[in-house]
C-alpha cells in the first residue's frame, strides 16, 4: 500500500502539475479528484492478488475448513477488498483536499457508500481474474494489467468526455460514459470539488454499473471454491 501511495501521490503532485503547464485548461483541478478514484481502483484489484496467493499457497483449504459457508468466504473477501480500497482512497482524498480546495466537502459523505459499492464491484473483477487465472497462476498479473489498462484508458479519469466524443467512435464513447470509473471520477469532481448539487441519477448509474461486477466476481470465485472442494484443486 505504501508503494501504491507513492505512485498515486506522484501522479497527483507531479504529473497533474506538469501536465497543467502543457494544457490550456486547469488539468490539476481536473485530474486530482480522479487520482482518488484511480487509487480506489488499484487498491480494489489487490483483492485478486490476495485470492490468487491464497489459492497458490494453499491457505484456501484452511479457509474452507472453517465453520463458515463458502458463500460467506466469498462475501468476506469482496467486502474486505472494498473496505481496504475505501481506507486507502480516503487517505488519498484527505491529501487531495489539502492540495485542492473543495467547495462541498460534505458531499463526500453522500458519495462514500456508493464508492464502497464501486470498490466491491472492482474487487469482484479482481476475483474473477484470480479465479480464471488460477490454473495458470503466472497469467493472473498479465490479465490484471490488461484489465487495468483498458478500464483506465477507456474512462474519463485522464481526459474530459468532450475530448473522447471528438476522437473515439460512438460505441467506445458509450463504453467510456458507462464505465463506473468515469461515473465515480465525475461525481468526485462535480459534487465534492466543484460544489455542484448531487444528482441522484448519476449515483444510481454508479450502483447499476458496479453491482453486476460484484455479482459476477462473487459467482466466479464461488465456482472456483466449489471446484476446490470437489477436486481438491482447480
Amino acid at each position: 500500500m505504501a508503494i501504491l501511495l507513492s505512485l498515486n501521490l506522484s501522479d497527483m503532485l507531479v504529473v497533474a502539475l506538469v501536465y497543467g503547464k502543457l494544457m490550456d485548461f486547469n488539468y490539476f483541478r481536473f485530474f486530482v479528484p480522479a487520482v482518488v478514484i484511480m487509487g480506489l481502483f488499484v487498491a480494489s484489484l489487490d483483492t485478486g492478488r490476495r485470492i490468487w496467493l491464497a489459492i497458490r499457497e494453499g491457505m484456501i483449504h484452511y479457509y474452507l475448513s472453517l465453520p463458515i459457508s463458502t458463500e460467506g468466504i466469498v462475501a468476506a473477501y469482496l467486502l474486505a477488498g472494498g473496505l481496504a480500497a475505501m481506507v486507502y482512497s480516503s487517505s488519498l482524498l484527505l491529501i487531495a483536499l489539502v492540495v485542492l480546495p473543495a467547495h462541498a466537502v460534505w458531499s463526500t459523505f453522500v458519495l462514500l457508500p456508493f464508492l464502497f459499492v464501486l470498490a466491491t464491484g472492482l474487487a469482484g473483477i479482481a476475483a474473477t481474474l484470480a479465479a480464471l487465472a488460477s490454473t495458470h497462476g503466472e497469467f493472473f498479473f498479465a490479465y490484471q494489467q490488461i484489465v487495468q489498462v483498458v478500464l483506465l484508458t477507456l474512462s474519463t479519469v485522464f481526459y474530459p468526455i468532450d475530448v473522447v466524443r471528438l476522437y473515439l467512435p460512438p460505441f467506445l464513447v458509450k463504453i467510456v460514459s458507462l464505465n463506473p470509473l468515469s461515473l465515480a471520477a465525475e461525481a468526485m469532481r462535480q459534487y465534492t470539488f466543484a460544489g455542484a448539487p448531487v444528482e441522484p441519477w448519476s449515483l444510481i448509474m454508479l450502483l447499476l454499473t458496479s453491482i453486476p461486477l460484484a455479482i459476477i466476481g462473487a459467482l466466479a470465485y464461488l465456482t472456483a471454491l466449489h471446484s476446490i472442494q470437489v477436486k481438491g484443486k482447480l
Binding site: I3, S10, V14, V18, Y19, L22, Q145, V149, T153, Y159
Partner: protein, 253 residues
C-alpha cells in the same frame, strides 16, 4: 560462448512458452498509444505532436521496466535456489554474468520490437542511422538500468521484501521525475533537479533527438550520451564486481 548461449536460452524459453508477457506488453502499448496518447494529444498544446512524444516516452518506460525485471529476475533466482545451481555449472562467474546481461538484452529486443516499430512508423521520415542510434541508446539505457538493479540486489540477500519495495517505489519516482511524459522545460525548478538524477531523462531525450524531435525542448545530446554511457559501463561494471563477491555461498531464503 556456446555455454553462455545455452544458459541464455535456458532462461529465455520460459518467457517464450507461451509468450504471454511479451504479447501483453505489445497490447498495452497499442492501447496506451492509440487511445491515451491520441486523446492527451488533443489536450496538450505545449508540444506540436504529443502522441509521438508520448510514444517514445512509453518505449523508454518499457526499456526501464525490462531492465529492472532483469535485475529482479536474478534476485528471484537467488531466492528460489537456482543461483547455487548456476554457480555450480562449469562456467566462469564472468560468463555467468554475461549470460544474465545477454538474456536481458534479448528480452529487451523482443519486447521493444513491435512498440518501437509502431513508434517509428508514427514518427515517419527517418534515416537508417537515426533509427540505429535510437536503438543503441535504448539498449545502453536498458543495460544501465539492469546494472543498477543488479547492484541493488545485495539488499535482497538481506530482505527480498525490502528489495521489492525499494525497486518498485524507485521505479514510480524515476518515471514521473523525468522527461518520459513531458519535456524538461515544463518541469518546475524543484522537479527539474530530480529529473537530472533520473537516467530516463537522458535516455528519452537522446532517443528523441536522434528521431528528429525539436532540440529546443530536449537536453544537450552530448551530455545525455555521456551520462548514459557512464551509467551503462559504471553500473554493469559495479554489478559484476559486487556479484562476484556477494553470490559466493549465498543461501536460498
Amino acid at each position: 560462448m556456446r555455454n553462455v548461449i545455452r544458459l541464455v536460452w535456458f532462461d529465455l524459453k520460459q518467457e517464450l512458452r507461451p509468450p504471454i508477457w511479451i504479447i501483453m506488453e505489445w497490447v498495452t502499448f497499442t492501447i496506451q498509444l492509440g487511445i491515451y496518447g491520441a486523446l492527451m494529444s488533443q489536450l496538450v498544446t505545449g508540444i506540436s505532436n504529443y502522441q509521438q512524444f508520448y510514444a517514445i516516452g512509453f518505449v523508454v518506460m518499457m526499456t526501464f521496466d525490462i531492465g529492472a525485471h532483469t535485475g529482479r529476475h536474478f534476485v528471484e533466482h537467488a531466492h528460489e535456489g537456482r543461483l547455487p545451481y548456476l554457480l555450480s555449472l562449469p562456467i566462469s562467474r564472468s560468463k555467468l554474468f554475461l549470460s544474465i546481461a545477454l538474456q536481458g538484452g534479448t528480452e529487451l529486443a523482443l519486447m521493444l520490437s513491435v512498440p518501437l516499430a509502431i513508434s517509428l512508423v508514427l514518427i515517419g521520415n527517418l534515416s537508417a542511422i537515426s533509427v540505429a542510434a535510437a536503438i543503441a541508446t535504448l539498449f545502453c539505457l536498458g543495460f544501465g538500468v539492469a546494472g543498477v538493479m543488479l547492484g541493488l540486489s545485495f539488499i535482497a540477500f538481506k530482505s527480498a521484501d525490502l528489495y521489492t519495495a525499494i525497486t518498485v517505489g524507485l521505479s514510480s519516482i524515476i518515471v514521473r521525475f523525468s522527461t518520459v511524459l513531458y519535456p524538461f522545460i515544463f518541469l518546475p525548478p524543484n522537479y527539474a533537479v530530480a529529473a537530472f538524477l533520473s537516467p530516463l531523462t537522458y535516455g528519452a531525450d537522446l532517443v528523441r533527438f536522434f528521431l528528429g524531435f525539436d532540440p529546443s525542448i530536449l537536453l544537450n545530446p552530448t551530455y545525455a550520451a555521456a551520462v548514459l554511457t557512464a551509467l551503462a559501463v559504471g553500473t554493469l561494471g559495479l554489478g559484476m564486481f559486487l556479484l562476484q563477491r556477494l553470490v559466493e555461498g549465498v543461501k536460498s531464503a
